[in-house]
């Protein structure tokens, strides 16, 4: 049951203004009073509110941004699913962008004392040095799309390895033996994990010959670099494995320009769906990256962490990627 601030004020002999300050995590109330107020409310509502009432969603962006302009925003809207889930548990979600190391440091330190109950951290653009900041955090924290580090870390990641292995098996089953992997210029966690999986697959399957080709980060650049590859190679490879949707789009453009037909002359398989607005003469066989599901799982893991004592063992949730079969692979 909800309690009115007036009731709380009367019961504890404080003013309603003080109650409001305490609830909203604002300065101006002494810690002892805040604790009394929150404990009283927790008792009345049968729900622990002493640890703060809001959660922070921190979006880390490397500075300068890795995913340029409107491209990254294709994904970021998916954090709304986290918000929806947390709201169901009556938690307010504050959005904070952290551009680079220093801002993330500031955001994490601030969260230790401002009434933040928990943090969701989108860490897809983490560089090596950024990981060291995690130890500063004193509230429950769930990260996503980043490497695992210490035992206590909690994270939700896409299962990149599963997708790459399943995709490669599929290409192999369709007779592809020479496969080239088109990669972005950047090395963010998800991209690195896909590349490592590709290499591992090649090591285990010597009958497949594979190689990497760096395209770029911008669509135009990817298109140009893909074209360069196709015009330079003596014989077209059987298939191209496309690292993400932008590489898929750029590569598709270059193939159309060169008049190379998919899948007759070359097979394509990509990770992540291409946006609806891109119309291609074939349906790309690809792995659906469950961005929304990931966001919900992050929220659920955080809720779990906030509602039980910390046992010191972090969890890593891996979300598998489903294959959506199109007609871009021959046979």
């Amino acid at each position: 049951m909800k309690v009115k601030s007036k009731e709380v004020a009367e019961a504890l002999g404080v003013s309603t203004a003080t109650v409001s300050l305490a609830i909203n995590g604002k300065p101006g109330v002494n810690e002892e009073t805040r604790k009394r107020i929150l404990e009283y409310i927790s008792g009345q509502q049968g729900k622990d509110v002493t640890k703060g009432t809001f959660v922070k969603l921190i979006i880390f962006e490397n500075s300068p941004r890795v995913l340029s302009g409107g491209m990254g925003s294709f994904f970021r809207i998916t954090y709304v699913e986290s918000v929806e889930r947390l709201q169901r548990d009556k938690l307010e979600v504050r959005l904070v962008y952290a551009y680079g190391y220093e801002e993330l440091k500031e955001a994490l330190l601030k969260s230790n004392t401002d009434g933040t109950r928990g943090i969701l951290l989108r860490a897809d653009e983490f560089g090596e040095k950024d990981y060291e900041l995690i130890s500063l955090c004193r509230v429950p924290l769930v990260m996503s799309d980043c490497g695992s580090g210490e035992a206590g870390w909690n994270m939700v990641n896409f299962n990149n390895r599963q997708a790459v292995f399943q995709g490669m098996e599929y290409l192999k089953a369709h007779g592809c033996r020479r496969i080239v992997y088109f990669q972005n210029a950047e090395a963010i966690y998800n991209f690195r994990a896909r590349r490592e999986a590709f290499l591992e697959y090649l090591n285990r399957n010597p009958e497949i010959s594979g190689s990497f080709w760096e395209t770029g980060n911008e669509r135009e650049e990817i298109e140009r670099r893909a074209e360069e590859y196709f015009t330079r190679c003596d014989v077209l490879p059987d298939a191209v494995f496309l690292e993400n949707f932008l590489v898929s789009v750029g590569t598709a453009q270059s193939l159309m320009k060169l008049g190379i037909s998919v899948p007759d002359q070359i097979s394509l398989l990509g990770i992540d769906a291409i946006p609806d607005t891109v119309l291609l003469p074939y349906k790309l066989t690809h792995f659906e990256v469950p961005h929304k599901k990931r966001s919900v799982l992050m929220a659920e893991l955080l809720l779990e962490l906030m509602n039980r004592p910390d046992d010191g063992f972090g969890r890593m949730v891996l979300v598998n990627e489903k294959m959506a079969e199109g007609n871009s692979v021959k046979g």
Partner: protein, 343 residues
């Protein structure tokens, strides 16, 4: 004794101008400086603790037909976040689902929470939904929606003028039979676009004709399927279409091309929004670009004025679009041969 800006300035060591700028959420004050000034201002009793320190960005979802999954809204959020940060406000994200059982309760809680200001993304709001929000006791602004009775502060796209501009462009290119690809879910923005389209035709001595109006779903696939079904009926087609948005335009183009029509040789299309990648559509789509980030920023700046009480009147701010000319419109005056398609 009453505390003045000067007192705060002396206590903090920052100039009175900086103190004033910080307290009024003006730009150009370092975030740490602003925080310190606020802390001291509160301590000295210059501002009361109940002063609004956060802005809630509320995404209203009626059925998700328009706002689901499009990059448009994340760019808006980018703009809002940047401006909130620049002015030292916390930004809270809220989702409001019309289909929730306790929807009304959620709304009431939202509009009477005096510790926050609300910027509500009203893209999917219908006129009948609006009454609830009229009692808002917190600073409140509608984004991408406008109510005729002027009960809200609004920041929206200049839909009517933009649509008129696009239609006039088609007229200038020699088109006289200009049809309308009409989004099925009639959000307010689409209605305004229809008005702009009709205005341009009227000014040219023409009228919107029913036979050239096609109602399509607002997803690419939906629009494609609907257009395909429409073309099967063997309709008489205009020489050009103005479309409610890019999704509708691109879906229709795909259906037209499949049916053997060339765009723009046989039929021209103008979209609305300038979604990512519509520059690589085949043909690249001529459309209207909505400055999304800027729209978010304008909304925050406007609500700060409301919060600070610097003006009491309600305003409607319309963000102008930018016409982006690409290759999906044919210049009929330019052609050689002329196959006489003036109806």
């Amino acid at each position: 004794m009453k505390v003045s800006i000067k007192d705060i300035s002396e206590r903090t060591g920052f100039s009175p101008a900086t103190v004033s700028n910080a307290l009024n959420h003006k730009k150009g004050v370092n975030a740490d400086t602003a925080a310190e000034i606020f802390r001291v201002a509160k301590e000295m009793g210059y501002i009361s603790e109940s002063r609004i320190g956060k802005i809630k960005f509320v995404i209203f979802k009626r059925n998700g037909l328009i706002i689901d999954d499009t990059p448009f809204f994340s760019l808006l959020i980018d703009g809002i976040e940047k401006e909130c940060r620049a002015s030292g406000m916390e930004m809270v994200l809220c989702r409001l689902n019309y289909e929730d059982e306790d929807y009304e309760e959620q709304v009431n809680w939202l509009i009477h929470d005096n510790s926050s200001a609300v910027i509500m993304l009203g893209t999917e709001l219908m006129e009948e939904d609006v009454a609830l929000y009229k009692n808002a006791s917190c600073p409140f602004l509608m984004l991408d929606y406008w109510s005729w009775d002027m009960s809200f502060n609004g920041v929206l796209i200049n839909n009517a003028d933009s649509a008129r501009m696009a239609t006039e462009y088609l007229l200038r290119k020699g088109h006289r039979r200009i049809g309308y690809l009409r989004g099925e879910f009639r959000i307010k923005a689409f209605r305004s676009r229809a008005v702009g389209y009709a205005t341009a035709l009227n000014k040219a001595g023409l009228v919107p004709e029913k036979r050239y109006t096609v109602t399509l779903s607002t997803t690419i696939n939906g629009a494609y399927e609907d257009m395909k079904a429409y073309l099967k009926t063997g309709p008489e087609l205009p020489t050009a279409y103005f479309a409610d948005n890019d999704m509708v335009a691109l879906g229709a183009i795909r259906a037209l091309q499949e049916k053997g029509y060339q765009v723009p040789e046989d039929i021209s299309v103008v979209g609305f929004d300038d979604l990512p990648f519509c520059e690589i559509a085949n043909p690249p789509l001529t459309t209207l670009r909505v400055p999304k980030q800027e729209m978010g920023r304008v909304a925050v700046r406007r609500i700060l004025e409301v919060i600070n009480g610097t003006d009491k009147i309600k305003t409607k701010t319309q963000v102008c679009t930018i016409f982006v000319e690409r290759d999906s419109v044919r210049d009929l005056k330019d052609r050689n041969g002329g196959d006489g398609d003036e109806g």
